[in-house]
C-alpha cells in the first residue's frame, strides 16, 4: 500500500493535481469567503439571515446579496475552466502557453450548449473533469510537439464533440455523472443499508472532487420519506421511516461539508504543526461552520489524496452509525424538520429535532469520534512521511 502511495506521489498525475490546486487556491479562498457570507448571512434562507431576520432590517441586503453573488460566480464559478487551464500548463513540458490556451478554449467549447453558454462544468462541478481534460491536453502538447497544428486540431475536435453531443441528447455531462449513484442505490430496499451505501458513495465522489448526490448545501430533503416523516411528526405520531438519509446522514455526518470535514479542521488544529496548514485550517474554520469546505479539500489536498481517503469514508459512516444506534435504542428524537443548509454542523440535529437534548449530545459525540478518526491520518501527513 505504501509502495503504491509512494509511486502515486511521484507520478506525473499527482504533480499536475497539486500544481493545479495550488494555482487555484487564491481564487478558491476568495470565492469561498464570499460564498460563506452570501449563503449564511446575505441570502433569505441563510442560517443567520433566518434566525436574526436579517433581510428585514439590514440596509442594502439585496445589493450585498447581488454583489457577493457576482464574486462567487466569477471565482468558484470559473474554477472548472481554470482547472483545465492550470492542469494543461502543469502537464505540458515546454509549451505551457499553447497548452493552457487550447485547454481553456477547448473546455469552454465543450461546455457550451444551445441552452447555456456558462455550463456547470466551468465551475466546481467540473473541477476533476476539467483537470483531466487539461492534463490530457498538456500531455499531448508535451509529446507531439507541433503546437501550431495541434491547437487547431484539438479545438476542432472539441467543437465536433460538442455538436455531436448536442445532436445526440440535450443532457449535460453532469447528468451522466450524478445519475448512476441514484440508479445503484435505488436497488436496495433496506433503508439503513441504503443510507450507509449512499454515505459511502457521497464520500467517494466528494473525494474525487465531483458533485455529490447529497450535497451538504442542498436546501432541504424533499423525498417522499422525508415528507411522510415530517407529516407524522407534525401530527405527533411515530415517524414511518426512521432510517433515511434525512434522519441519519444529513444531520449527523455532514458537519463542514461532505466527509465531515469540520472534524478534519479540528484534527489539523490539534496535531498539525506546519504553519501554512494551520493558517489554512484557521481560515477554513468559519466556512466549515456553515458547511463549505473547498479551501480545505483543495488546500489540504483531501481531493485525490490516498491517505485521507480512509477517514473521508469512515468519519461520516461512524457518525451515521452512532446516530442509527441512538435512534434504534430510542435514546433521541428523530431528525425530521427542515433546517437552513448553512446551519453550523453541531446544531443541525438539535434544530432538526426541534430541540432534542439527546440529539445534540449524539451529534457532538459523532463529531468527537470523527475527529478521533481523522487524527492518526493527519499525524501521518504532518509527520512528513508522505508530503502533501
Amino acid at each position: 500500500m505504501s509502495k503504491f502511495c509512494q509511486r502515486y506521489y511521484h507520478s506525473r498525475f499527482y504533480h499536475v493535481v497539486t500544481a493545479t490546486f495550488a494555482a487555484l487556491m487564491p481564487l478558491i479562498l476568495i470565492g469561498t469567503g464570499a460564498q460563506a457570507l452570501l449563503l449564511s448571512i446575505f441570502s433569505r434562507d441563510g442560517f443567520f439571515a433566518v434566525i436574526f431576520d436579517l433581510a428585514h432590517w439590514v440596509p442594502g441586503f439585496v445589493q450585498i446579496h447581488i454583489g457577493l453573488g457576482l464574486i462567487v460566480t466569477y471565482t468558484l464559478g470559473l474554477s472548472g475552466l481554470l482547472a483545465a487551464v492550470f492542469a494543461a500548463r502543469a502537464a505540458s513540458a515546454d509549451q505551457p502557453r499553447w497548452a493552457a490556451l487550447t485547454s481553456g478554449v477547448g473546455w469552454l467549447i465543450l461546455n457550451t450548449s444551445p441552452l447555456t453558454s456558462f455550463g456547470p462544468n466551468l465551475g466546481l462541478d467540473g473541477l476533476l473533469p476539467g483537470l483531466i481534460f487539461g492534463a490530457g491536453c498538456g500531455w499531448l502538447f508535451a509529446h507531439l510537439r507541433k503546437p501550431q497544428w495541434l491547437a487547431p486540431v484539438l479545438l476542432v475536435l472539441a467543437a465536433a464533440l460538442r455538436v455531436g453531443i448536442t445532436t445526440l441528447a440535450k443532457n449535460g455531462s453532469t447528468l451522466v455523472l450524478t445519475a448512476w449513484p441514484a440508479a445503484l442505490t435505488g436497488a436496495t430496499s433496506h433503508w439503513s443499508l441504503h443510507t450507509g451505501l449512499v454515505a459511502l458513495i457521497n464520500s467517494g465522489l466528494g473525494w474525487l472532487g465531483l458533485p455529490t448526490p447529497i450535497p451538504a448545501l442542498a436546501p432541504m430533503m424533499t423525498s417522499a420519506t422525508a415528507t411522510a416523516n415530517l407529516h407524522a411528526a407534525l401530527a405527533n405520531r411515530a415517524i414511518p421511516y426512521p432510517n433515511t438519509l434525512g434522519t441519519l446522514y444529513r444531520p449527523f455526518a455532514l458537519f463542514g461539508g461532505v466527509g465531515m470535514t469540520l472534524a478534519l479542521v479540528i484534527a489539523i488544529l490539534l496535531v498539525d504543526r506546519r504553519p501554512a496548514k494551520r493558517r489554512l485550517a484557521y481560515f477554513s474554520l468559519a466556512p466549515s461552520l456553515v458547511n463549505l469546505n473547498w479551501p480545505l479539500l483543495l488546500g489540504y489536498s483531501v481531493v485525490l489524496e490516498p491517505v485521507l481517503l480512509v477517514p473521508f469514508f469512515l468519519a461520516p459512516l461512524a457518525a451515521t452509525g452512532i446516530a442509527w444506534l441512538a435512534l434504534h435504542w430510542h435514546l433521541m428524537a428523530p431528525a425530521v424538520y427542515q433546517v437552513p443548509a448553512t446551519t453550523p454542523g453541531p446544531l443541525l440535529a438539535w434544530l432538526a429535532t426541534n430541540g432534542n437534548w439527546p440529539a445534540l449530545v449524539v451529534a457532538l459525540l459523532g463529531l468527537a469520534v470523527a475527529v478521533a478518526i481523522y487524527l492518526p491520518f493527519v499525524k501521518m501527513l504532518a509527520g512528513g512521511g508522505a508530503h502533501a
Binding site: 434566525i51 407529516h231 405527533n236 411515530a238
Partner: protein, 294 residues
Amino acid sequence: MPKWLKVLILSAIVLLVGGGIFSAATTWMHRQVRDAKVVHNSQMQPIILVPGSSATQERFNSLITTLNQQTTGHSLLKITVKTNGTLVKSGKLAARDNEPYIVVAFQNNHDGYNNIKKQARWFDQALKHLTATYHFNRFRAIGHSNGGLVLSLFLEKYYASADVSIDRLMTIGTPYNLEESNPHNRTQMLNDLIAKRKSLPKTLTVYSLAGTETYDGDGTVPLNSVECGKYIYQNQAAHYTQITVSGDNAKHSDLPQNREIINYIQQYMLQTPNQTPGRSQPTDSQRRMTTATP
C-alpha cells in the same frame, strides 16, 4: 496582557456569541415548527362518540342536548355502520363548525369480545370515510361502556396506519376486564389489550370515568373492571386520569346523562365550548400567530 487572560477573554466571547446564536436558532426553530403545525392541522377537530353494546346512534341525544344548552355552535352527525361496512348517516355538520359531535354506532351492537373486535374494524372504516369526507386530521373520542373498548382496540390495532391523530380519549364506565370483578382474573381481551399497549399513541391524554351506585360498581360494570384501564394506559399514554362519580344518575346506563360527567366532558374534551355559529373559529395557535404578526 498575560496569555491566560487572553484565553479567558477569547473563550468568554466565543461562549457568548455561541450561546446567543444557539438560543436565537432554537427560538426560531420552535416558532417554525409551531407555525407548521398550525398549517398542517385541520381546523376541524370533531368529538367522536361511540355507544356501548345494545345502544344505537341515538344513545347520546340527551347528553348532547344538555351539552348544547351549556355551550354554543356544536352540530351533531350520527352514523350507523352496517354489518357489510356501509354507512347510514343522519344529521348534518353545520358550516364552519370546527368541533362537531359525530356519533358512530354499529348495526351489530352485541356484547362479546368477537363482536367488539369487529366493531373496532367498522369504526376504522367509518373514520376513514369521515376524514375523507369532512377533511379533518385530528379528533377526540368519547366511548361509553363497550364503546371505550372499541376505541381502545382501534387505537392499538388500526390507529398507527390511519392518517389522523387523536390527543384525548374519555371512556365512561368502560369494562376493561368485562364483567370480571377480580383484577387478578384477567380476561382474554384485557390480556390482548395489555400485550399491544406499546402501539398506543404516547401523546394521548386519557380520562377513565367510573360510576358507583353501590360500593363496588355502577350496577352493571364492576368498579374493578373499569380500574383495569390503568394496566393498559398508565405509563403508556401521556396522562391517565381515573375519576369515580357517585350520586344521582351514577347507574351504568345513566352515566351519559350524569351532570358531573357532562361537566367533565365540557371541561376536558371541548376545546372551544362556545363557538359563534357562522363564523370561522380561529384555533389557539392561529390566534397567537395573528397577534405575533400584525
